[in-house]
Symmetry: C2
Subunit: 150 residues, 2 copies
DNA sequence: CGTTAATGGTGGCATATGCCACTAAATGAA
DNA sequence: TTCATTTAGTGGCATATGCCACCATTAACG
């Protein structure tokens, strides 16, 4: 097979997913820029907000994110005073996370912008299509790739 | 609306996309680990391979990636001797990229592992479903979110 | 021509993510 | 109780990505 006829990267599920994520990330980030938050940060603040002073491990699990990666991502938010952490009194290994009042205000501000981006996205691709896409992505997130231990 | 009844992050198209990308990335990376390449690097080598000594800008455009981000990502691959760059003789602003022989060998090795991951993914989600997903992701990558300039 | 504008990349800085080695704390077994 | 094991996070290091300011080159225009 000549190099010229090799299929493009369009065949790789992972590459396509990353590519779409870059594209959509740029769009959401653009819209949210006035808040000073990236879309990832808004998502993280929101996740913390809807949790009940969630433990770091719990957040990482919901987001399917490495625990240490979460720790890193949290740092700028703590530095900027949007988030604070405290040890769980019943198990001092566990560190819980909550929004500060300042963080709550910032989240409100960011959510307004998020709505704009979200709305615009759904206008462009269609509400149904968007819902289907999210469902498909949710399925992927739930997949188990382990070979069944026979 | 009480905090307890707020919808999860499942509603955000962008967050879901990133989450699925983390999940799938971890899987592909795991499978490709023996090659010493990350899935992103394999994808980049492949993109360079199928291009005709592509210019950096061309690669960045196909991957919907920031040009400077591409430059950064390329560095470890150049350092490890998989890739080399050279100025286009007709326009010295343009820097073209190609695989070294070593890079070609490494790509072959990585592609074998990639096939394993790709195959496993399609076994789990179904070949049709995977194709539909890639099509949907390709559509997203092609979207234009600009408001029509009236 | 020569000045101006547009194009293609680089480097610095910042966030996003992951892996690994290591520490502290809680659990379980002897 | 005491020691091995498991659990929850941290810090260091590396890649992934983006934005912005800046440089070199080329194209455009008067």
């Amino acid at each position: 097979m000549s190099k010229d006829t090799l299929p493009g990267l369009t065949l790789c599920n992972n590459a396509m997913l990353r590519r779409a994520a870059r594209k959509l990330g740029q769009f959401y980030d653009d819209v949210m820029a006035p808040s000073g938050l990236k879309a990832t940060q808004q998502g993280l603040l929101y996740q913390i907000h809807i949790g009940n002073e969630p433990a770091m491990g719990a957040i990482a699990a919901s987001l399917i994110m490495d625990l240490s990666a979460l720790g890193h991502t949290l740092k700028p938010l703590i530095r900027d005073g949007y988030v604070e952490t405290f040890a769980d009194p019943d198990d001092r290994r566990i560190k819980r996370v909550r929004l500060t009042p300042r963080g709550l205000v910032k989240l409100d501000e960011a959510m307004k912008l998020w709505s704009v981006a979200q709305q615009r996205f759904e206008d462009v691709v269609g509400k149904d299509q968007a819902a289907k896409l999210r469902a498909a992505l949710d399925d992927i997130a739930a997949l188990d790739f382990d070979l069944p231990a026979s």
